[in-house]
């Protein structure tokens, strides 16, 4: 396939994943605002902006972290080059550019997402309709993923889409941990206080892992367990280990089809080994924050290596 097409399908998947994860983060802020009062909510809105890397740009245009401002900035502001609407638009532009590589179903699902969201985000989003809009974003992106899963050949095209999805997802989970790591550090938390429980719950919710975690831990909750769950639990589809296993299996698929491995495979083997061999105790001994920072940097390297090895651009 063309290098440009590989680039297109890879970014299409990344943008869709990022849009979905951003909607999830907004959901958490929304929930805080409803249940915890203005101060906690403000703090949560700010952290959503930091996690998505939009804090500085937002600060240039707004003085305070009010819910309506943050939500509309992230979802639909034309001044914001990383808004959810722009991501969906970018996903569609990429899908259009690789139409010959994707199935009709995948194209139509992507196109429909764009049409539905363009309609839903054509006016400012009020608090009363926010829940509905966020559910729609999750629903639409899920539909595209379903169409990919159900209709695409398991070939290089699919591999590049999946690699994009999981590199993005790993990045998003790591960024949530990066912004919230202090919540999980024992030195700064009063063990067992209700504030902690709320904060921990928030971290889990941001990755749609609250129910799964409680189910696995019989309702108990502790910071170390949460960090372990998000980083090392290979059963949880948004954990770093899960994402890297998926990236590796799709990279293995490419190696099989092309009859050769590339430098990216080597890089990925190293990163995968570091993840698998780490225990949560070692991670905390080394420093959770340092671990996360180095993971994010490594993840970026892997992405760039893949783009270069498979000639995404000239």
């Amino acid at each position: 396939m063309l290098g440009r097409s590989a680039n297109g399908i890879y970014w299409m998947a990344r943008y869709l994943e990022r849009a979905e994860n951003t909607a999830r983060l907004l959901d958490v802020g929304f929930r805080m605002a409803l249940t915890r009062g203005p101060d906690a909510a403000r703090e949560e809105w700010r952290s959503v902006l930091v996690t998505t890397g939009q804090d500085a740009a937002f600060g240039q245009r707004h003085d305070e972290y009010s819910g309506t401002h943050v939500v509309n900035w992230i979802l639909r502001d034309r001044e914001n080059p990383s808004s959810v609407m722009t991501m969906i638009e970018n996903a569609r532009i990429n899908a259009r550019a690789v139409r010959t590589s994707i199935t009709r179903e995948v194209w139509e699902a992507t196109n429909e997402s764009w049409m539905a969201l363009r309609e839903a985000l054509s006016r400012p989003v009020r608090e009363s309709s926010l829940g509905e809009v966020l559910a729609m974003i999750r629903g639409q992106t899920t539909q595209v993923r379903g169409a990919m899963d159900g209709t695409m050949l398991r070939n290089e095209v699919y591999n590049f889409a999946r690699i994009g999805t999981f590199l993005e997802r790993a990045d998003n989970t790591a960024r949530i941990l990066d912004v919230k790591y202090y919540v999980l550090l024992p030195s700064l938390s009063w063990v067992g206080s209700s504030l902690d429980n709320v904060q921990w719950e928030t971290v889990l919710r941001s990755v749609a892992g609250n129910r799964a975690f409680r189910w696995l831990h019989s309702g108990g909750m502790d910071p170390r367990g949460i960090a372990e769950f998000l980083i090392l639990d290979g059963r949880f589809p948004r954990s770093l280990v899960f994402c890297y296993d998926k990236i590796r299996s799709n990279m293995a698929g490419l190696a099989r089809q092309y009859g050769m491995e590339t430098a990216a495979h080597e890089l990925l083997r190293g990163a995968g080994a570091r993840l698998h061999q780490a225990s949560i105790d070692e991670i905390f001994d080394l420093g959770l924050h340092e671990f996360i920072l180095s993971f994010i940097a490594g993840n970026i390297d892997v992405g760039e290596r893949i783009a270069a090895d498979y000639r995404f651009i000239d």
Partner: protein, 479 residues
């Protein structure tokens, strides 16, 4: 339905009887419930939006994509009518290729005094780079669209030739697809010649034009790629659609470069050679080294590879000269000169404003004529006398007088009508027809039917999609 007096309606005669071609359709149509038909048509629009069958209009805000309206009443041609039409089209397309070959070689037609050399001088569409060069397979225009209009029972005329890069074939295919999805039982009642194998025919035809026999594909088959200017081009949907249906790569200029004396595309496994390029990029943008140095749509050095006979470019650069409307006016002579036969299809009578007598006539009668730029297309840069204001006519007359050789004029034709389905029932509207023709060393292949464009506004003669025209499914009946 009331027909328009003095206009030939293809469905209904002036005394209200249904013509034989439409008998099957009309019988079915009368049995249907109007509300249901309207609901189905609305569904069709949703279907087009969802599948992204849209086109971009130049100059619109932010490259907004628009739908070309679809009308559910098919345009129907009988097998007998089609046999005659396709003979005429084949004759014309053979003549066009022979003419292009001659223009770029000995120019026998000029030497014989049957065609004026002045039409080639200072004509940007004539490419000196093509002089003396023989394209692979000897074919110049591989894909041709011949625009036809009808004025009476057996009177089809050629309005213009599209030898450069005709578009619209994806609408021909999707319109049929849509009709079959909406009204499947209609096709069991009326036998219609299929068009759905056009992409396979196109692939076969392009493959047969590959240079030097052996292809670069895994199985020794020639590798075909569709070259598009990219997703913001008005016909991008069609480029993607055709590449997809042919199983060819859809490439942009930035995907291609010259490697080891071949044109190669950048794949995830490195550069791989291409044998045939179906280019949907204008010739002047093909090679920044040879033509427009600003172009980022083409491939630097492709003309050298082309001249070395190591790639086929379809259509060949320099074919645009045959789209020139002043040259069009010589088509009857051109057909006769190269085929030795009388032309089967007539031209629309044309005044070449570059000739003093013609200019005088056109200026005196501008209110009754259609005046066109010789290099214009898409319905732009033209004046339709009868529907224009006096001021528009005066403005146009000034432009015309300043640069007469840049214009031709034609009588305003009584174009045939075919009904469209409106809220108030059937209503006649003007139509044209663009059949699509494939040319390879193996022969000329015409898909039965083509694209029917229809002016949706009452009385309008402009069928161009960029100016509010719609399309219809076009049927050629089987015997």
């Amino acid at each position: 339905m009331r027909t328009t007096p003095g206009k030939f309606d293809e469905m209904v005669t002036e005394d209200g009887t249904i013509r034989p071609a439409y008998a099957g359709f009309c019988k079915w149509f009368d049995e249907q419930d109007g509300a249901w038909l309207r609901k189905q048509t609305a569904e069709a629009e949703k279907f087009f939006r969802r599948t992204g069958i849209t086109f971009n209009v130049y100059g619109d805000d932010a490259g907004e994509e628009r739908l070309i309206p679809f009308d559910m009443v098919p345009r129907i041609i009988t097998a007998r009518e089609w046999r005659r039409l396709s003979r005429g089209i084949e004759q014309r397309v053979r003549a066009l290729n022979a003419f292009l070959h001659d223009l770029y070689h000995r120019q026998e037609i000029v030497r014989a005094g049957r065609f004026p050399a002045r039409l080639l001088q200072n004509n940007d569409a004539f490419l000196p780079q093509m002089v003396g060069f023989q394209p692979p397979g000897g074919v110049y225009t591989h894909i041709v669209g011949i625009d036809l209009v009808r004025t009476g029972p057996d009177e089809f005329m050629v309005l213009e030739d599209n030898a450069r890069t005709p578009s619209g074939v994806s609408y021909m295919l999707e319109n049929r697809e849509t009709m079959m999805a909406m009204f499947p039982e209609l096709f069991s009642r009326v036998a219609v010649a299929p068009v759905q194998d056009y992409p396979q025919r196109l692939a076969r035809s392009l493959t047969a034009c590959a240079p030097g026999g052996v292809g670069s594909g895994k199985d020794g088959r020639p590798v075909v790629a569709v070259l598009t200017p990219g997703i913001y081009n008005s016909a991008y949907f069609e480029h993607a659609f055709l590449a997809d249906q042919m199983g060819a790569e859809l490439v942009e200029g930035s995907d291609l470069r010259v490697i080891d004396g071949r044109i190669a595309m950048r794949t995830t496994c490195g550069y791989q050679p291409v044998d045939v390029i179906y280019r949907r990029v204008d010739g002047e943008f093909l090679d920044p080294l040879t033509f427009n140095p600003e172009s980022v749509l083409g491939v630097a050095g492709i003309m050298d590879i082309y001249r070395a006979g190591r790639i086929t470019i379809a259509n060949a650069p320099g074919t645009g000269i045959a789209d020139d409307k002043a040259i069009y006016s010589f088509m009857p002579e051109i057909v006769e000169f190269y085929t030795g036969e009388k032309p089967i299809l007539q031209n629309v009578p044309t005044w070449r404003c570059g000739e003093p007598d013609a200019l005088k006539y056109v200026l005196e009668n501008i209110a009754e004529l259609v005046v066109k730029e010789v290099h214009g297309s898409g319905g732009y840069g033209m004046l339709i006398g009868p529907t224009s204001t006096r001021k528009e006519q005066a403005d146009f007359a000034r432009k015309l007088a300043a640069k007469p050789e840049n214009y031709i004029a034609q009588p305003t034709l009584a174009l045939s009508t075919v009904p469209i389905f409106t809220k108030a029932g059937l209503a006649p509207r003007h139509v044209d027809l663009r059949p699509f023709v494939l040319v390879s060393p193996k022969g000329v292949d015409i898909t039965p039917g083509g694209l029917t464009r229809v002016a949706l506004r009452k009385g309008s003669l402009v069928v161009n999609s960029s100016q509010g025209g719609g399309t219809k499914d076009s049927w050629v009946l089987e015997d």
